[in-house]
């Protein structure tokens, strides 16, 4: 299903989605974030760069309570599971890189051991994507990690900006439902609309971006470069914060803690929170031994997870090239540079490779 949405009618479409909570990008307290919108507001537009945080938290929130626990009168433990039952949510204006990231999360939390909490949130979540006519950030590099500025993976709807209007394309049954619900705001798309959209797509693909060199060789070369001294050198300015991982649309590491609220009777809850491989205590053993004690090892873990381990397990780079970790890194650590340098060093010395 493809339709045309006049830019001025965006609010009307949102207003028609009565059964959904709609989140749209807004500049709030100085940052771009997805915030709930009711719809009919005048001037609801999608002129945003990429948001500071991806919409990852909608399916994998920073804090998830698994269950609460307490003691019964006779001192026996009692668990009360707390599986979320969120309302239907639509995230509007999702960039294709973030849409694609959702499919990676689906693999992690869905394939081998389905995560009930993730599934409950994911099942009620829809992404309405917005194609990138030009890269929203100078650090974008989606094309060299297998993505596309017009990519459709993970999205339920893709909107393509045609200056005064959007071409709106349903990609899933949920997407069709969203468009059906908003049909009052949508009009038929014509061949010229489609042609213009195609033009935009070709222009976007042709737009220069940061590039990971020889991506197909990267997993192998990272593997070869595991012991490289470059890791430590590249991590030299690293301060060991969690920005790169917490802003990443695909990072999914977590910690599980019992938050004890009272000692007598014992009560509290078991909570999953985001964790970061960049934190010094991430791999700290209770013996005091830390297998990744230095910053180089932690940088290597982050990069290799994205470009080697995930590839080995799932056949795709985990990184979707959104560029957030580059933009927000306080000291300029640039994942594209890191990958390229380590891979280049590990490249077999063959003229063809240079």
């Amino acid at each position: 299903m493809e339709r045309i949405l006049d830019k001025g009618r965006l609010g009307a479409w949102v207003a028609a989605l009565a059964d959904w909570t709609v989140l749209a990008p807004a500049l709030q307290d100085g940052i771009w974030a997805y915030v709930p919108v009711a719809g009919a507001e005048e001037g609801l537009t999608l002129g945003h760069p990429n948001t500071v945080q991806p919409p990852k938290g909608q399916s994998f929130p920073q804090r998830e309570v698994f269950f609460s626990f307490d003691e019964t009168e006779d001192g026996k433990p009692r668990l009360t599971p707390l599986v979320p039952s969120p309302a239907n949510r639509v995230v509007l204006g999702v960039r294709p890189c973030d849409g694609r990231a959702l499919t990676h999360l689906d693999r992690v939390f869905g394939e081998e051991a389905p995560d009930a909490y993730y599934q409950a949130r994911r099942g009620t979540l829809a992404y309405v994507g917005l194609a990138c006519n030009k890269p929203p950030s100078r650090h974008c590099f989606c094309t060299s990690v297998g993505g596309s500025p017009f990519g459709e993976e993970g999205l339920d709807v893709l909107m393509i900006d045609l200056s005064d209007r959007y071409l709106v394309r349903a990609l899933t049954p949920v997407g069709e439902a969203l468009m059906t619900a908003g049909q009052g705001a949508l009009t038929e798309a014509g061949a010229d609309d489609r042609a213009e959209a195609q033009q935009r797509r070709l222009a976007a693909l042709a737009h220069p971006q940061r590039t990971v060199a020889k991506p197909q060789a990267v997993p192998q070369r990272l593997k070869a470069g595991f012991g490289s001294a470059l890791w430590e050198r590249l991590a030299q300015p690293c301060i060991g914060c969690g920005i790169c991982t917490f802003l990443c649309p695909t990072c999914h590491c977590f910690d599980i803690n019992d938050e004890v609220a009272g000692q007598s009777p014992v009560c509290g809850s078991r909570v999953r929170t985001w964790d970061s491989c960049q934190f010094p205590d991430f791999t700290m053993h209770s013996s005091g031994h830390n297998p990744r004690a230095d910053l180089g090892a932690r940088l290597r873990q982050r990069v290799c997870h994205k470009f080697q381990y995930f590839f080995e397990n799932h056949g795709a780079f985990q990184c979707t090239g959104c560029g957030r970790c580059i933009t927000a890194c306080p000291v300029g650590i640039d994942i594209v540079t890191v990958v390229n340098q380590v891979a280049a060093e590990a490249a077999p010395v063959q003229p063809a490779d240079c």
Binding site: V65, S68, L82, E259, A261, G268, S269, V271
Partner: protein, 145 residues
């Protein structure tokens, strides 16, 4: 956290009292049978200087409506100058709590000597009276789960 609208709100106060002066002063209030509200639960510490700002934050985060730190008068500290250190440190705690918008009445310090039973009673009485109009403190309180 359930609140029964029918029962009037009773402020919950954590009172850190130094062992040598303020706790002894509260003992004297008892010996003198001076009546004051039962809202403050004392926790005896060796010296007001040992009260870490973390204790105060934690009390608020666990739901205290008010926190009192009471020590010896200046110059009377059993440990010579612990109360001077406490005063400087807790002044900053007070300023910071007010700065983020906690009502200034919720954190209080006093000097109560072992001979000031009546003063101890007054400190508690005044504190409770000042806390009543504010209602329960939820700003810093942990909401679980």
């Amino acid at each position: 956290m359930s609140e029964d609208p029918m029962t009037p709100y009773e402020p919950r106060i954590v009172a850190f009292l130094c062992k040598w002066c303020s706790s002894a002063g509260s003992d004297l209030a008892g010996v003198s049978r001076i009546q004051y509200p039962a809202n403050a639960t004392p926790i005896t510490v060796m010296c007001s200087g040992s009260v870490s700002p973390q204790y105060i934050l934690t009390a608020f985060r666990k739901g205290a409506d008010g926190v009192l730190v009471s020590g010896c008068h200046l110059g009377d500290c059993h440990y010579l100058e612990g109360n001077y250190l406490a005063r400087r440190k807790l002044f900053l705690v007070k300023e910071l709590l007010e700065f983020i918008g906690l009502e200034p009445e919720r954190f209080r310090m006093s000097w109560v000597s072992a001979a000031e039973g009546a003063k101890f009673a007054k400190v508690i009485t005044d504190f409770v009276a000042d806390l009543r109009p504010l209602g329960p403190q939820h700003k810093l309180q942990v909401q679980r789960p």
